[in-house]
Structures are given as structure tokens and as C-alpha cells.
């Protein structure tokens, strides 16, 4: 059994799986159920200023379903907690007291002035929580009021607010980043400059998940109208992984701890985030899809995989994939693969042929004998090794990409004869 315990920015938890700041972490009842199920930590649903709480709409969620599967993508137009601040603070204190080994991070979002942050931090510190997470990511509703993503999209604000927080609390400060920007490194660098102890990403993506074609309005629909919401779920994971990798290999932020978020559904999704440098991961949609009990396989699956690889701790493989993430310009243009089809495994669906013929390089010939048996043959000279056929093939290991031993040395675009800027 590997040791799954995690330590990130001074926060420890028995496993790296935290519930992200969202409806699953809105109150004591939910969070205690999560801890009973085995979650390593939570980021409590975002607290706002003292005073009248925000008001939420009905309905709040939209889903992208695909081929009979629900919630491949998910979005929401819910705001921060709509319960009174003191109620949340009391519950946070009670839960932390009852579950001292679990990570208790409190998400915060108040107006962009120093006094507001000072006041909230003073109150939050009294709960005994382990850290705070600054919600600079929420893309809907709160951003219209100058908070959430409205802050996260301006690096200077991120730096300043982070700096205020570091001034007024000794708690570790996580800065949660919005993906609704063009270069994730800019806000990450700003957080780092402001003294952030860690960044959490990604928050949700601006989205309209669907348009109801009967009422001609976006989903979710509130009295016939809809607004863009925050998109998450398995569909956003590739975007999250890319953004995490950008921060992990940026010279300025490469040592900044990262809590990875975005479409984590299975343990191997989490392992991918950790391989790209994340010290903990946060989950929301999968829990909202199935309930907290998914933690069992997240922990067990990660553990078994780590055992199979001989990894004794999270640190043993954390960041292991970062050195292999590079820029396109460094890729070897002399490296060649071509598709190889295992006829014994082929079920004759013809997908490899038709996609190559229509949309790729006309490199798979289809033929049919007199008995109607179909066969598909790769035309080696035409195959560019794009992988498309391998990806569409429904049978595992039927099509594989085989390296061509061409004896050519490593050559990237910088040195390629077709590059007019070569060597310049």
C-alpha cells in the first residue's frame, strides 16, 4: 500500500482528493458526509462579506449529454454561498474540530478593497481552518459585481489582493485562477508575485451548454431567459491539464504549488494532474454526478496503480511528466510512425478507412472479397502517422502506430531546411 498522504503549501491531508469549493461543500452536513466517505479535504463553498447573503436562481445547472451518457460537461449559474456568514464560520469550526486530519480550506470572495479582505480574513482565521482560497474565478454573476473572474482576469488585481491577504493572515493562501483568459501564466505569475502559497485551477469556463430549441433560450433557463454559466466536468479536463502544465513549466512559477481542478472523474485523471505537478486535486462534478462514494475508487485505484508502478508516495511521481511537455518547435520532425492494422482483431467496421479517405490522407485502402469479407490495408507511403485511424478504431490494440526506423537524426523546426528563419 502506497502512502497517499499529501502536503501542499503547508496543508496536509490523508489523501490528495479534496472536494472543490461548490455545492458539495456548502454546509456541515455535506462536508461531514464527505469526510465519513473518506475525502481528504474540502474547500468550503465560497464565503462572501457579512450582511445579507446572495440570492440564487432556479434552475441552476445545465448538462452536456453524449451518446447516452449524462453530464460529460456540466455548467452552473449558482453564486457563492447563500447562507449567513456566521452560520458558515461556526460550521467550519465545528467540522475542523471534529475532523482535524482533513484539509479544511475556506474559499473567499469579497469586493476588491483591502478593508473587506482584512475583515473577512480575521473572522475566518478563528475557525481553525488550514488555509484560504481566493476565488478569482467564478465567471458568472459575481463577476458582474466586480468580483470572481472580474478580478482573476486582471493580473494586477490578483497580485494586490493576494498581497493584502498575505499581509492580514498567516494562513496559507491559495489563489484560484479563472481559465477565461488567453494566457494562464500571467495570472499565475501575478499570484506568485503577490506571495501566493499555491494556485488552484481551473475554475469554470464561460459557457452556454445548450439552447432549448422549443423556447429558444439557453439552458439552464430562468423564467424564459438564461445566462452564461461556468462549465466543468470531464469535457474540460484537457484544458485544465494544459493550463496546469503551463504554470508547472514556467520559469517564474515552476515551484509554485498547484491544486489541480477540472473534470477529474477517475483516479487516473487525478494521476495525470499529479504527473503534471499538482500536489492535491479537487473534484466537484463527479461527486455531483454520483455522490461522495466515488472516493472509494479514487483512493483505491490510485493506490493500486502506484503499487503497480512501485511509487511509494505522491511525491514519487508528482511532476514526472513535466520534462516531457515541451513546445511544438522542439518536436523531432524526423520521427516517423505509420499505422499498422491487426487483421485478426479487425471487426470490419470500416471507420479507419472512411475517416482517412474523407478527412485525412487517403492512406487506408478498403477491399471486399466475393464473400463480403472486408479488409483494410495501410498504404505505407501515404500514411503520415496522424493517429486518426487508431483513435476511431473501436477495438483496443487493433490499430497501432509503429515507429519507422529511418535512421535520421533529431531535427526540429529550428534546423529544418523548410524554415526560412533557420539558424537566423
Amino acid at each position: 500500500m502506497a502512502d497517499l498522504s499529501c502536503k501542499i503549501a503547508g496543508v496536509t491531508s490523508p489523501n490528495p482528493f479534496w472536494l472543490a469549493s461548490a455545492p458539495p461543500t456548502d454546509k456541515q452536513y455535506n462536508v461531514e458526509r464527505a469526510f465519513e466517505a473518506g475525502w481528504g479535504g474540502v474547500v468550503w463553498k465560497t464565503l462572501g462579506e457579512a450582511g445579507p447573503p446572495v440570492v440564487n436562481v432556479s434552475s441552476r445547472y445545465g448538462s452536456v449529454d453524449y451518446n447516452g451518457q449524462r453530464m460529460i460537461g456540466f455548467n452552473n449559474i449558482e453564486l457563492i454561498t447563500d447562507r449567513p456568514l456566521q452560520v458558515n464560520l461556526d460550521e467550519i469550526a465545528a467540522v475542523k474540530k471534529a475532523w482535524p486530519d482533513r484539509a479544511m480550506v475556506v474559499s473567499l470572495m469579497v469586493p476588491c478593497n483591502e478593508q473587506a479582505w482584512k475583515e473577512i480574513l480575521q473572522r475566518v482565521e478563528q475557525t481553525g481552518c488550514d488555509a484560504v482560497e481566493l476565488n478569482f474565478g467564478c465567471p458568472h454573476g459575481m463577476s458582474e459585481r466586480g468580483m470572481g473572474a472580474a478580478v482573476g482576469q486582471v493580473p494586477e488585481y490578483i497580485r494586490d489582493v493576494t498581497g493584502w491577504c498575505k499581509t492580514y493572515t498567516d494562513l496559507p493562501v491559495f489563489v484560484k485562477l479563472t481559465p477565461n483568459i488567453s494566457d494562464i501564466r500571467q495570472p499565475a505569475r501575478a499570484a506568485h508575485e503577490g506571495g501566493a502559497d499555491a494556485v488552484s485551477l481551473i475554475n469554470t469556463i464561460n459557457s452556454i451548454v445548450s439552447v432549448d430549441l422549443d423556447i429558444m433560450a439557453p439552458m439552464p433557463t430562468v423564467a424564459g431567459k438564461g445566462a452564461h454559466g461556468g462549465y466543468c466536468g470531464p469535457a474540460v479536463r484537457p484544458i485544465a491539464l494544459s493550463m496546469v502544465s503551463e504554470i508547472a513549466r514556467d520559469a517564474q512559477t515552476q515551484n509554485l504549488p498547484i491544486s489541480g481542478i477540472g473534470g477529474i472523474n477517475h483516479w487516473h485523471d487525478a494521476a495525470e494532474f499529479i504527473a503534471l505537478g499538482c500536489g492535491s486535486v479537487q473534484v466537484c462534478t463527479a461527486a455531483m454526478r454520483y455522490g461522495y462514494r466515488i472516493i472509494d475508487d479514487l483512493v483505491d485505484g490510485l493506490n493500486n496503480w502506484m503499487d503497480s508502478k512501485g511509487y511509494n508516495s505522491i511525491e514519487d511521481f508528482r511532476g514526472a511528466a513535466i520534462p516531457n511537455v515541451t513546445d511544438w518547435q522542439h518536436l523531432d520532425l524526423n520521427y516517423e510512425t505509420i499505422a499498422s492494422i491487426d487483421e485478426d482483431k479487425c471487426i470490419e467496421c470500416g471507420l479507419c478507412h472512411i475517416v482517412c479517405e474523407d478527412t485525412s490522407h487517403q492512406a487506408i485502402r478498403a477491399s471486399k472479397d466475393s464473400d463480403g469479407k472486408r479488409s483494410y490495408t495501410v498504404i505505407d507511403d501515404e500514411c503520415v502517422g496522424c493517429n486518426l485511424c487508431e483513435l476511431v478504431c473501436p477495438v483496443p490494440d487493433c490499430i497501432s502506430m509503429v515507429e519507422v526506423e529511418n535512421g535520421k537524426p533529431y531535427l526540429n523546426w529550428g534546423g529544418h531546411p523548410n524554415n526560412p528563419m533557420r539558424g537566423g
Binding site: N67, G68, I347, E348, C349, G350, L351, H353, I354, A366, K368, G372, R374, P394, V395
Partner: protein
């Protein structure tokens, strides 16, 4: 009483005759459609006698375009609704589904086809329009699958069609011959209504060829003639006592099942069915469902040689029918004109592949015997006219369903080829396209 009515309560009979497969609900259909790989040059399309674009219609189910899915089916097979439940999919489309190889389970194409066509029929929508009137008028003999398919396609192409049907209802075997548990809820009649909904088709009922009409006259009166006569004769055993009380032609009894109150039918206690085709299965299963106690189906060869598919054999077995093989009937025993037993001789296949008797006999007590040993085309109704060429007992046609007569086409069971509804529908379609070319 060995033979009696209402062996079972009306409720029990109704319960026994529900659909063999309950229709898929939307969720099941979506899940099943998602299993389809949308193959390119799909084997299932090759295996469909009517060439339905199966991956195409399933993709339309996936997208929620259910009327589009039904139209894709019906444009190749206007009886796609019936074929969805009666086609032997296990040896056609579903047999070659690539998912058999990867998952040992095909996409249930037949059930998806029913889902799509049921959806369209429920709205009583006719998805096809007629081309402008061609001024041509075609006679179709027989309102079975071949005749109605031909008539519908001709009507689509702008022609006027008169259909002559010897019986009081249209639909042919769909109405009179298919197993009731595959064709519930007046589906055959509803399908006829749908087909006629395109307009331009008139059916003259109870008009028999050779009696009320003749081929010679039809050829004179109409621009073209399509013969879709079907099987009109039943093979006999050639044994004594074949006329005894309790001996039936399976097809006649099946017709009664389809046309009469089920609780009014005479049902034996010990029933023997002779034959190995789907008709034998249909009668054996249905007489069991009507309450017969012991039903034995006896076939002279082995299981593999049976005309009934393995899947049909399973239906019989799971319904409590005992399938006995290697037995050929040698005597029908009767007492006071009433059937009492059927005697069989054991058979084996000799070194030359011929079926020979072993000289050893067995006897099954029986109060009802159903003969299901095949039907044939009876050319007698054509004898008053110049007839088309007949080869091996069936009307000879070419690949366009043309007979040896210049303005006469034929299709369905009266011509060569597999005796399947779907084949008959295809024959009718091909004939209509050929007639259309001829009349241009």
C-alpha cells in the same frame, strides 16, 4: 374432451400472446443506438434484402430525428414496420453486425427499426409524396407484401394502381399468416392503411385470378401487370387418414389464429406438428400458448438442416415445445374417424448423404396434428391465359422481376428466392422501378 375450446382463460391467452419483444422505450432505444458504430460500407446493409441504410437510420435515432429514421427505413422497405418484427434478423442484418465480433452481441437492429417506424405510424404521417400523374395504370395481382410494395412504389412514381385481392383483407401473409405474437395490435391492417395513404392505389377485394379476372384481360386493360400471388397450395403427406378429424394444415389454423377469437379455437391435449420450417415453429408455439399440454414438433432431419433458424428453435423450446428430429411420418392412426396417434420411422443419413429410414418406428399419441411441410405456388389461376414461363414450380423472373411476358412482372413467393416478407417487399420495389423504366 381431447380437443376443446378455451383450455385457458381469456386473460391467460391474452398474456401468452403479447409481443415476443416488448417495444423499446426511448431510453433503451437511445442506449442501443449508441452501441452502433456507424460502420462505413456496413455489412448489415449488404445483408438486408431491401438494402436499408441501417447505420443511417440508427444515427438518426441517436440524434432524436425519429421521423427521419423511419423515412430512411421505409424508402427502401415500405413494410419496414412488419419486417422489424418478423424478419429473421438473426440470419440477416444482426447476424453480420460487427458487434458480434467485438462484443458477442449485435445491435438489436430489428427492435430499433420497430422503434422508429412505430414512432412515425403513431402520427399517421405519410412521409412520401407522389410524383405528377403519369397517366399510366398498372394492375397488381395480390395485396400481399410483394403486391403492396410494388403498388406503393408505383404510386410514388406517379402511376395509378389497381390491386386485385382474392381475400376480404389486404396484407397477405402479414394479415393471415404471421405468428400473432409477432404482429399484435392490428399492425398488419394499420400498415396497409399507411401504405394506401399515399393515394393512387385502389384495392378491389375478393377478386380472384382465374375466376373474376384473367391475366390476358388485365394485360389488355392495363399498361403493365405485376403478379404477387404468393403460395396458394399446401403440400400433403400422402398418408391414409389425412382427412381424419384433428388433422389440420398449419397455415389454415394460423389464419384462424389471426382472424378469429382466440378462445374459440379448438385446442388439443396432445399435439404433433410435422415440419421443420418457421411455419412449424409458429403453429407449435401458438398451439402451446393456446393451452395444448404436450406439443411435439417432429422433423425428418437433424436440427441443423431445419428451415427454422436456431433462434426460432429456441423460441419453440422456451415455450415448452419438444423438438424431435430424425423422424419421418409413416402412418396416421385414427379411430372412428378421429386422429389417435402419429407414427414415425427413425431416419439417418447414409454415406451418400441421403435420408433413409432405419426400420425402427415410434408413435406419438395425438388428438391434433398440424402439417407444416411446405407450401407451393399454384399456377392453375393462370391457365386460362397466356402464362409466364414457370421453372421448378415458380414463375421465372430476371433480376428486374420481369417475366417471360413483355408487360408482366412478378415477385414474392410465386417467384424463386427466399420466402421471406422482406424478399417479397424487395421484389415488389424492384418490379415497380422496372415497370417505371418500361413505361417511360
Amino acid at each position: 374432451m381431447s380437443i376443446q375450446k378455451s383450455r385457458l382463460s381469456v386473460e391467460k391467452i391474452d398474456e401468452n400472446f403479447v409481443d415476443l419483444h416488448a417495444p423499446l422505450n426511448l431510453l433503451q432505444a437511445e442506449q442501443e443506438a449508441a452501441r452502433c458504430l456507424f460502420c462505413h460500407d456496413a455489412p448489415c446493409v449488404d445483408a438486408c434484402p431491401t438494402g436499408i441504410d441501417i447505420p443511417g437510420f440508427i444515427r438518426k435515432i441517436s440524434s432524436g430525428n425519429l421521423n427521419g429514421a423511419a423515412t430512411t427505413i421505409l424508402e427502401e422497405n415500405i413494410m419496414g414496420g412488419t419486417c422489424a418484427t418478423v424478419c429473421p434478423v438473426e440470419e440477416l442484418c444482426e447476424q453480420v453486425c460487427v458487434k458480434n465480433t467485438s462484443e458477442q452481441k449485435p445491435v438489436v437492429i430489428g427492435q430499433l427499426q420497430r422503434f422508429a417506424t412505430d414512432h412515425l405510424f403513431a402520427q399517421a404521417k405519410q412521409p412520401f409524396q407522389r410524383a405528377p400523374d403519369s397517366g399510366k395504370h398498372i394492375a397488381v395481382i395480390g395485396a400481399g407484401p410483394a403486391g403492396l410494395s410494388c403498388a406503393h412504389r408505383l404510386a410514388m412514381l406517379g402511376h395509378q394502381v389497381s390491386v386485385f385481392e382474392s381475400r376480404p383483407k389486404a396484407g397477405g401473409l402479414n394479415e393471415y399468416g404471421l405468428a400473432a405474437y409477432k404482429m399484435n395490435d392490428q399492425r398488419a391492417a394499420k400498415e396497409v392503411e399507411f401504405i394506401l395513404g399515399i393515394g393512387g392505389i385502389e384495392i378491389e377485394y375478393e377478386k380472384s385470378l382465374g375466376k373474376d379476372i384473367s391475366l390476358d384481360k388485365l394485360r389488355q386493360q392495363f399498361d403493365a401487370v405485376f403478379i404477387g400471388l404468393g403460395h396458394t397450395a399446401v403440400n400433403a403427406l400422402g398418408l391414409d387418414n389425412e382427412a381424419a378429424d384433428g388433422v389440420y394444415n398449419a397455415v389454415d389454423y394460423i389464419e384462424d389464429i389471426r382472424q378469429q377469437d382466440l378462445s374459440s379455437l379448438p385446442v388439443g391435449r396432445d399435439v404433433v406438428v410435422i415440419g421443420g420450417g418457421n411455419t412449424a415453429i409458429d403453429i407449435a408455439v401458438q398451439i402451446k400458448k393456446l393451452g395444448a399440454e404436450n406439443v411435439s414438433m417432429v422433423y425428418r432431419r437433424g436440427l441443423k438442416a431445419m428451415g427454422a433458424t436456431e433462434y426460432e428453435q429456441e423460441i419453440a423450446q422456451t415455450n415448452g415445445v419438444v423438438i424431435r428430429t430424425q423422424g419421418k411420418p409413416v402412418a396416421i392412426h385414427a379411430a372412428d374417424g378421429k386422429l389417435s396417434a402419429v407414427e414415425f420411422e427413425y431416419t439417418q443419413t447414409d454415406s451418400n448423404g441421403r435420408l433413409v429410414g432405419t426400420g425402427e418406428n415410434f408413435s406419438l399419441p395425438a388428438d391434433q396434428l398440424f402439417k407444416a411441410i411446405g407450401q407451393s405456388f399454384d399456377s392453375q389461376p393462370l391457365s386460362d391465359s397466356e402464362g409466364p414461363q414457370i421453372v421448378a414450380g415458380r414463375i421465372q423472373v430476371d433480376e428486374q422481376q420481369r417475366t417471360s411476358l413483355n408487360n408482366v412482372w412478378a415477385g414474392g413467393d410465386c417467384t424463386t428466392g427466399a420466402d421471406l416478407t422482406v424478399e417479397a417487399v424487395n421484389d415488389g420495389k424492384l418490379a415497380a422501378l422496372s415497370i417505371h423504366e418500361y413505361l417511360k
